[in-house]
């Protein structure tokens, strides 16, 4: 039994311990390597979850659904830590970061990992809430780490909006408990996920509805759905790039995961209003809104932050549509988006260091000046724009085709949004990657490995998905109903 | 035996069009002159001109290319083939099926294509004027021609000139609106295509409104001879086209006896004479129009053709 528990405890324990260590340890090389090692071990532990899963206890639960998320999170966490090791080095050299703040940075990185893993593996909606709040706070601190006006302002905005979101989410959680209590009885059980799911049919639908509204807005703020998105672009733009990658690639997913859990709950209750339409609407709004917002962006990181909003919209839409195909597509899209978007942020961070700025106007002709970097970015944007043979195309293919047969108008709006987004992305890409070179070209030695590793995975996934993965996703899709 | 006869007849036809073409041109000139109360050149003047040109040396512009020298032969060949495929005195010639009405138009098209290129070859602005205007005219004349083909083909149920002629000669045709329109359009196209008044003036040489003459301005000697010859063959072709489509009487159907052939030839020559006379009459009675009125003229022809076709699409009996 205890043996069964090893992986989960490891997934939670390693980051916690590492965090404690990293606070104590000086020296950036050591801490960076330790950071990498820790995340790598966490990843291994997560992978080992495939083989031994603990019985769902009152606090911990590992099923197909969150297993997807855990593995994804830990993997991107690992690659990002590799990238950040090389990235942060440069930041130190140019003196944007002090060693002190760096120590803090690494510790926070591990805390964030811990918080996200906790939010994923917990079986208790209360703990889940706490974990997500923790994740929010840590990211707030990391966003503000540069202490520039913009950074502080972004952190503050993130903090205020995030806190309100958190508050709403908590209210929703309480309401769920209230709904569950008459059926399940007082005490812990009424917050334990596995129990809730089994009895959800008998809950009071009206309460569930109100609860879902609050949860949707609360966790939706974290997902970055419009009009709750405001914190996201600035937080991405002003924080250190690795954090932007983690935010886009992971934190949004975690919040989405919470949302999905509650969606399942509602779906199980016949009386409750269907959560689908709400999510579909939010998704479409976010998609179209973000797509238009892409046009007037001057800051490269902020632009890709908006593209994250856009894709979160698509994913939310897919899950809102429901059905085996759309859910499968949603999961696939989420995975691919995490990988691609973090890869893009790796590239962008590197570019920002090379060019010494994030202003799109000051970069140009990258494919000529820095071929590897430039083409890497092009490939990433091509992937994120949903061009085959890269992974996102498959998910978009499934979403659009399966939707059009069911709800033509929605599909048309979806397609419209995607097209507008693609147009905007390439409008900017043309000036960044092509045309005559512009702007300074400093020497920056961030590693290409994580970026191309991600892109390679995305590329392969676009044409070949291993059967095991497929069956796994299909189970999850069934689970999501 | 029959094949040989057919072969002979086909050859005869080819020679006939070649022989008669200058004569027709001369005839038209003569009649025009007479209508203007002038004496006019003798009928055989065109033959004399050709012979003289043949004997003269060719004066080539300095930067004339091989294309310039090849074009006359090509133009001549294309026109001659086209002309010899139109039934003149006898339908169902041996090779008549090797090309239908559309092909004949296309052949004239390729002749024009090379003529226009030759006009551009020397690189003087005269040639440019000529070819650009020629192509503008053609761009309207050709569709009109195709529409005429449609009309007749829909009536006769075939694009083969022989079949058309044999059908039209038969009694079941009767008078048809569409055919009337087509005839009208065909005449207009013929006038434009042969650079006759009012579209162009074959008699002028240095005039900013000229089209055909501007293109061939640089030609001389044998080349000019070939071009003149193919021009008059083209005229002959159109006249005999009108003849075999709209006055098909006297056309000998295939396998006719020699006596009949003689009649056919006579009838054909009579038709040519009539056609030439009418053309001359028309030309003397009308003034040349400005170049940019030509599109309207030909547009009218195109519309007539289209109208005729539409009528037939709507009802086969119109």
């Amino acid at each position: 039994m205890t043996g069964m528990f090893e992986p989960v405890t490891a997934v939670l324990g390693i980051p916690a311990v590492a965090a404690a260590l990293l606070v104590a340890l000086p020296g950036y090389r050591l801490t960076a390597t330790l950071n990498v090692i820790a995340t790598f071990l966490t990843f291994l532990a997560a992978v080992s979850l495939f083989f031994g899963r603990p019985q769902p206890g009152p606090y911990l639960l590992v099923d197909d659904l969150n297993n997807v998320f855990i593995v994804l999170t830990t993997f991107v966490g690992f690659t990002t830590s590799v990238f950040s090791a090389s990235y942060i080095g440069h930041e130190i050299e140019i003196g944007r970061l002090t060693p002190r703040s760096l120590r803090f940075y690494h510790a926070m990185y591990q805390v964030l990992m811990f918080a996200m893993n906790l939010a994923l593996v917990t079986n208790n909606i209360g703990v889940m809430w706490v974990a997500i709040e923790l994740a929010t706070l840590t990211t707030v601190l990391m966003v503000g780490i540069y202490r520039t006006h913009e950074a502080l302002e972004a952190a503050w905005k993130y903090f205020i909006l995030g806190s309100v979101g958190i508050a709403l989410a908590l209210f929703g959680t309480i309401l769920v408990y209230m709904a569950a209590r008459p059926v399940i009885g007082e005490g812990l059980d009424a917050m334990v996920w596995t129990v809730l799911v089994t009895r959800a049919g008998a809950f009071d639908p009206a309460l569930l509805n109100v609860a879902f509204v609050f949860l949707l807005l609360g966790y939706g703020t974290k997902v970055g759905l419009a009009p709750l998105h405001a914190w996201l672009p600035d937080a991405h733009a002003e924080g250190p790039t690795p954090i932007s990658a983690v935010l886009s690639g992971l934190l949004l997913n975690v919040a989405l995961y919470a949302l999905l859990r509650f969606k399942m709950l509602l779906a199980l209750n016949p009386g409750a209003l269907a959560p689908g339409p709400l999510m579909v609407t939010m998704g479409l709004i976010s998609l179209v809104f973000a797509a238009f917002m892409l046009y007037r962006r001057r800051d490269i990181k902020r632009m890709f932050a908006y593209s994250s909003i856009e894709h979160m919209g698509i994913i939310t839409f897919a899950f809102g549509m429901g059905g085996p195909l759309a859910n499968f597509a949603g999961l696939l899209h989420m995975t691919m988006h995490s990988l691609t978007k973090s890869a893009i942020f790796f590239a962008v961070g590197h570019i920002a260091q090379v060019k010494g700025t994030q202003r799109i106007a000051d970069m140009g002709g990258l494919t000529a000046t820095n071929p590897v970097l430039g083409w890497g970015l092009v490939l990433g944007v091509v992937a994120i724009a949903g061009f085959p043979p890269l992974g996102i195309f498959m998910s978009e293919f499934l979403v659009i085709t399966s939707t059009f047969a069911r709800a033509p108008w929605l599909a048309i709006v979806l397609v419209f949004g995607i097209l507008v987004g693609v147009a905007a992305l390439f409008l900017r890409l043309n000036t960044i990657a092509f045309g005559e070179p512009r702007g300074a070209t400093a020497e920056a030695k961030a590693s290409y490995v994580p970026m191309f590793a991600h892109l390679a995975i995305v590329f392969v996934a676009g044409i070949y998905l291993p059967p095991a993965l497929v069956t796994w996703f299909q189970n999850v899709a069934k689970l999501l109903g | 035996m029959a094949v040989i006869l057919d072969l002979v007849v086909q050859g005869l036809q080819m020679l006939l069009v070649l022989a008669l073409a200058p004569l027709l041109t001369g005839f038209v000139r003569k009649v025009k002159a007479r209508l203007l109360l002038r004496q006019g050149p003798p009928l055989i003047q065109p033959y004399r001109d050709l012979a003289r040109l043949m004997r003269k040396e060719v004066v080539l512009a300095e930067n004339a290319s091989w294309l310039f020298r090849v074009s006359p032969y090509f133009i001549f060949a294309a026109t001659w083939v086209a002309a010899s495929l139109v039934p003149t005195f006898r339908t169902g010639l041996l090779f008549s099926w090797s090309a239908d009405f559309i092909v004949i138009i296309a052949l004239l098209g390729s002749a024009r294509f090379f003529l226009a290129l030759a006009g551009l070859d020397v690189g003087t602005s005269f040639g440019g004027i000529g070819s650009s205007r020629e192509m503008m005219i053609a761009s309207l004349a050709e569709p009109a021609m195709i529409m005429i083909v449609f009309t007749v083909a829909l009536v006769a149920g075939s694009t083969q000139l022989s079949t058309m002629a044999t059908f039209l000669v038969s009694s079941e045709v009767g008078l048809r609106v569409s055919l009337g329109l087509a005839l009208f359009a065909l005449i207009m196209v013929a006038i434009a295509e042969n650079a006759r008044i009012p579209v162009d003036n074959p008699a002028t040489h240095l005039e900013l409104t000229m089209v055909h003459e501007a293109m061939v301005l640089e030609y001389s000697g044998r080349h000019l001879a070939l071009i003149e010859l193919s021009a008059s063959m083209k005229l002959l072709l159109y006249v005999s086209l009108i003849a075999c489509l709209f006055v098909p009487w006297g056309l000998v159907s295939s396998g006719g006896a020699v006596a009949l052939l003689a009649i056919g030839v006579v009838a054909y020559i009579a038709k040519l004479a009539a056609g030439g006379f009418l053309l001359a009459l028309f030309e003397t009675s009308i003034a040349k129009m400005r170049v940019f009125r030509v599109p309207e003229f030909l547009g009218a022809a195109l519309m007539l053709g289209l109208l005729a076709t539409l009528l037939l699409f709507v009802s086969r009996s119109l």
């Binding site: 208790n124 205020i160 309480i174 209590r181 109100v210 600035d234 | -």
Partner: protein
């Protein structure tokens, strides 16, 4: 029908919390607002204590204590000092006047009633009423946040919103983790309050007025 009296008292306390929220909404002076908030926290503490009593759930007393000590005393004092330190001008510039704000508040309360009373009655009435009140407190807090320009008053709005949450949490009979959650929230608030210091907003900006923060809203224009 468990003890009508206890029910009524709980009801009364919850209702008065809503009332105090209205009073907060009414204030246009920072100090007065602070005092009102202290009162708000006090009432909350009372109602939580009462819940602890009627549910005989001793751990709720902790929550009550936190509410009392932390929210009713420490925070107001801290904020008071901030105001003095940063020399923030006393009155609060509102976006909408008191009257419209009140009207809005009313309609919000009505809305929360309607929404909550649709809940089938078999969920026990106590919880139901409490929820209705809690929801209105939450909405009023949010309303305050969006109708005030001044950061301190926004913080206060947020805190009264959070009081509503605690009210709901305690009203939910036998809900676990209430203490943990309230602690977590207190930390959150502490962060916010400290944030005003920590970001040394005074040094960087002329005022804590959120608009000044927004002067640097990312894309420099």
């Amino acid at each position: 029908m468990r003890g009508g009296l206890s029910f009524d008292i709980a009801h009364l306390l919850a209702g008065s919390l809503v009332l105090v929220s209205f009073l907060e909404l009414y204030q246009d002076r920072l100090y007065a607002l602070l005092n009102m908030f202290a009162l708000h926290a006090l009432v909350l503490a009372l109602s939580v204590a009462w819940q602890a009593h009627i549910q005989d759930a001793p751990h709720l007393y902790v929550t009550a204590a936190i509410a009392l000590v932390f929210k009713a005393i420490i925070i107001p004092v801290a904020l008071h000092r901030i105001i003095v330190r940063l020399g923030i001008h006393r009155e609060i510039e509102k976006v909408v006047g008191v009257g419209p704000a009140m009207l809005l508040g009313m309609s919000l309360v009505a809305l929360s009633m309607v929404v909550m009373l649709r809940v089938t009655a078999d969920a026990d009435p106590l919880a139901r009423e409490d929820l209705a009140f809690a929801l209105s407190v939450v909405l009023l807090g949010l309303l305050m946040m969006v109708t005030r320009r001044n950061a301190v008053s926004q913080v206060i709005g947020f805190m009264s919103l959070e009081n509503g949450l605690v009210l709901a949490a305690t009203g939910a009979k036998g809900m676990p983790l209430v203490v943990e959650i309230s602690v977590a929230f207190s930390i959150l608030i502490a962060f916010i309050v400290i944030g005003i210091f920590l970001f040394r907003i005074r040094e960087r900006f002329d005022t804590v007025d959120v608009q000044a923060l927004d002067r640097f809203r990312g894309e420099r224009r």
